[in-house]
Symmetry: C2
Subunit: 614 residues, 2 copies
């Protein structure tokens, strides 16, 4: 695949590189005194030099003095480790709540030079036009933000209303674009397994274009289903949570992307594949490191792939192996190893300096031969991106939302309590549990039961003014008073509201309608914390620092209303995600995600004796 | 890159594979009881099964009974090793003197399932039309004969006359063809180093098409020149003869193709890179095994990649590493690892059974799910290929060749001897040495000196009836009487004649003119051995057995006339190859291949005192 994410395509500059390599012309830049991390042979080469011209590497060797001219920029690596820039093989920029350019600002100082970005969140809201808009924003930065075309919009067709829908024809069209290097995570693995036409057609369109199909196979099954999924041409998967999942994928020639995101920490378990391999000489070329979802505060205070590489080393993976997992292995996964992923002649000069190997502290990041970050600070200027109105005004809710919008009428003939099925969330886990609880009925309406930690939950369609909404109950947030709302509500990103009382729920909802989307916590008629995310209701156009600070404030607000789980907004945001078990709530209703059918909120106690309260 | 060398492209059969993997439909074939050589993780997996449908692998696992239906073909591997079929990453079919289909017949039983074939010999004679013709012949067999477009036709422009010429525009056109997966060995490495327009344009056209540029960097220089060459986008090279060459290439991200051909045995030296690596955990993913040139008798009696893998193991390389070098590494080199090179779901079912690991004896070869060879015997029928007349009548020599055609007039005023520069050949080496010898002058003509082993050598243009020819002297063949001639005469493949007397030389030449080309040995007016190669003057249309037998007979004939060097016809065939040092003879004259200039046969003794006879 030809890659256009470079200063100059290789085919235009072969002469230039060849003459510079031989010193017949001066290099633009020469790096001296590098402890080169050679990811091709897994060696460290001491006292190396690298000569760069046209944004690409012309020479790598022990002595580049012949490449140095009067105008050559000299960079003394001062005996630091010099590695290929890090590649994130699976990532959603939107999870950072940042605009694409601010995301670049956040990750480039941490050594990330390229991302393989599945923009399915923004696509759900704004369609492919929204993706192109974000790509345009990203292109203002040095970060190589390569797109994998969202494959599952909506995530579960027929069960929710999204802002847009992607079909196989859209995928085929997108594959013609240079900036699109593959297909985004094929979450519809049941569709692949059971012959869904659109799922297979999307994969086929990608394969026919010679591009890469990325996966999402999230069940702990490693035999028939996994074989079926891989046989359909799906090349990588970031959804291994057990070491045997990752091992099975690698054995079947699938790139196992070990995930270490803000909320999901798979690395501790998965590293065992490498630290405790099934045989001597175990080949790790099919293992990669990826982030998937990273929150702004993680990016701000912890880092990105530098942190993940460090974590891999902490888990006992050899430093060079860990760096291969974030560089050449990912490049080979995408068949872009002729462009990136190693410090070798002809490749883009995407390079990081590391203070040390264990901490993986990035001292300098170079992209296409230009130093773009140093000592944790980006060196490129960014003006705010000018979004068109359709991108920043995506709250299209038909009805006026008032306190009485949240009244839930009890079934006719109900007594003073009713049995309902509720969604029980589990801290720091993506799964939910279906549970059955008795709730009080007051004046004909079912109420939340704060004592039992069971709260009203509403989802309002916000894309097409359809006025559709649905309700249910969520258990497990520990909230004692107040309400929360969010338009980050996977994957349709409708307006999700949850709370102890109708007044606060209305205030939370209306605050977000006013702010153009985001995440809010209210209590007793007051807004305690607000992250305004006007871009598609998912992202801010503010700086990383501002967004991280808003997130920190909101985390405090969550605590103030009694919720102490880690990343509660992430757990909350998954309530509508109908592709994960067991019970979810979309704008169309309660969905049993094991049988994929809508289910009633109210349970007929006599007819369902087996559903005794668990 | 989409590969069309398969029964069905993956994008057409993803549904089929997925359902078979899960047993919802029966497989075409199931392999049972395999000791699977997993080249992805470098493991051996005992008691494995493989289910196949549409020519591709649907399932790999411990139990494929769910894939077995009434019509499923069951193949019991009987606990033998089961590996991916072997891929030869650099090979010239023409060196085998066989037609492409007979070549396939020869190598498939040895486990070769795919070749990356640079048909530059036939291209020199018949142009790209000849290449297409051979590809058509190859396509009648199961062997995946992928073409890398010849890049250097002629090998050294301006110094010889070939049947055709390839320019960058031709390369750009060829890249549009599905069967062309890259550019053939860029032998013009000086052109790459010194900015030759056509050389760089050919590379650029290939890179722009997203295809692979293969290399030929034959000098023992691993710093500036090698960096320059690789920086121009050249991805692999089979011309390492010292272990440090191969190591340098791997370190610079170039696939080092370890060669073990009939005449050139590099493996003993190169294996040291892997058996005595520069560091612990040395990564070998950039090392491959290839054959380059294999003669019919080698193919007939020794084998192909099975032999080379065995040789690698003999040199101390771990069996799985050696097999990776002939499978997945080569597939990754060509970015075709999504199609071939591993036994994993979705890939073409190109599989070999091995009796053991050390001897690498191939018991069965499967291509696209069909058993195509078993116990050393191909299982496909071949009728002789119908060549058009232009392909089998390529001897276009203007002049009538008689004994007096070989008279070499001495310079005016010469005495009874003259000083000439001669080409000294070295057994089993590609290089020659320029030497200076005194030769007798009889009746005004310079004669061969059999006692000193210095013989007249002529090259006649044979492509375009130009009537051009040139002459010189060759030293080192040890021939006592008679003459040899060959139209296998790299790379222009003009008619090369060498001998002790003019009469036998004329007979040798005319015998080949009559046979449409080939290789001949004559003595005292009799033909002692003839390999008729009417296809382009390079290949026979006979069977492997017949050609091997003719070659054996000719080897005996060589001995009869006194030549005892190994593969003398190969050494002889390189006399005109003006891209290798030091002195060569083309149809245009004697070429000094260090300075790339024509030089005189006769040396002025007084003016050149330093050229005292060496």
């Amino acid at each position: 695949m030809i890659n256009t994410f470079c200063k100059a395509p290789l085919h235009e500059v072969t002469r230039e590189l060849a003459v510079v390599a031989q010193g017949q012309k001066a290099a633009d830049t020469v790096i001296l005194n590098a402890k080169l991390i050679n990811v091709c042979t897994a060696e460290i080469q001491e006292s190396y030099s690298i000569a760069i011209v046209c944004g690409r590497i012309a020479y790598v060797g022990e002595d580049a003095t012949h490449c140095i001219g009067e105008d050559t920029q000299l960079i003394d690596a001062a005996n630091r480790y010099v590695a290929p820039g890090f590649l994130d093989g699976h990532i959603h920029v939107e999870s950072s709540m940042l605009s694409a350019s601010q995301y670049a600002r956040a990750v480039v100082p941490h050594g990330t030079v390229a991302i393989f970005w599945d923009p399915h969140e923004v696509c759900n809201v704004l369609g492919f036009e929204g993706v192109k808009l974000m790509a345009k924003d990203a292109a203002r930065t040095p970060l190589k933000a390569m797109i994998v075309m969202p494959s599952c919009v909506p995530a579960v067709p027929g069960f929710e209303d999204t802002g847009s829908a992607i079909l196989a024809d859209d995928v085929a069209e997108a594959m013609k674009l240079d900036g699109v290097v593959g297909l985004g995570e094929m979450m519809n693995f049941p569709g692949i397994l059971f012959g869904d036409t659109n799922a297979h057609d999307e994969v086929a369109a990608t394969l026919e274009a010679g591009k890469i199909v990325t996966g999402h196979y999230s069940v702990p099954e490693t035999d028939q289903g996994l074989n079926a999924y891989i046989s359909a041409g799906i090349r990588c998967c970031h959804e291994s949570t057990r070491f045997e999942d990752a091992l099975a994928k690698m054995r079947l020639g699938m790139y196992a992307q070990f995930r270490e995101g803000s909320a999901w920490h798979d690395l501790h378990e998965l590293a065992r594949v490498i630290t405790n391999p099934p045989c001597e000489g175990f080949d790790t070329r099919f293992a990669c490191l990826i982030s998937d979802d990273t929150h702004p505060n993680t990016l701000h205070s912890v880092g990105h792939l530098d942190h993940i590489v460090k974590r891999a080393i902490e888990e006992g993976i050899e430093p060079i192996t860990a760096i291969q997992m974030a560089t050449i292995n990912t490049a080979q996964c995408y068949q872009l190893d002729h462009e990136m992923g190693s410090i070798t002649p002809g490749k883009c000069a995407d390079i990081v300096f590391l203070e040390d190997l264990e901490q993986c502290k990035v001292a300098l990041t170079m992209i296409d031969g230009v130093v773009v970050a140093q000592e944790g600070k980006e060196l490129f200027e960014l003006s705010p991106f000018e979004y068109p109105e359709w991108a920043t005004h995506s709250m299209h809710i038909k009805q006026e939302i008032r306190a009485d919008s949240f009244k839930i009428a009890a079934p006719v003939g109900a007594g003073d309590k009713v049995l309902v099925r509720a969604i029980e969330v589990i801290p720091a886990r993506v799964g939910t549990v279906e549970c059955f609880v008795h709730l009080p009925v007051v004046a004909g309406f079912v109420e939340s039961d704060v004592e039992s930690d069971v709260l009203k939950t509403f989802v309002f369609e916000r894309h097409h003014n359809t006025g559709t909404f649905a309700y249910g109950f969520a258990k497990g947030f520990g909230i004692e008073s107040g309400a929360m709302a969010s338009t980050v509500a996977h994957d349709a990103h409708n307006l999700l509201v949850l709370g102890t009382n109708d007044e606060d729920m209305a205030l939370a909802a209306n605050t977000l309608i006013e702010s153009g989307g985001g995440s809010v916590v209210v209590k007793d008629g007051k807004v305690l914390g607000l992250i305004a995310l006007p871009v598609a209701g998912l992202m801010s156009n503010d700086s990383l620092e501002e967004v991280a600070s808003a997130v920190a404030a909101e985390e405090e607000a969550w605590e103030k209303i009694g919720c102490t789980m880690p990343s509660p907004f992430m757990t909350m945001a998954l309530i509508p995600l109908a592709c994960l078990p067991e019970l979810r709530l979309t704008n169309r209703g309660l969905v049993d995600c094991r049988s994929f059918e809508f289910v009633d909120l109210f349970v007929d106690e006599e007819a369902n004796e087996e559903t005794a309260v668990r």
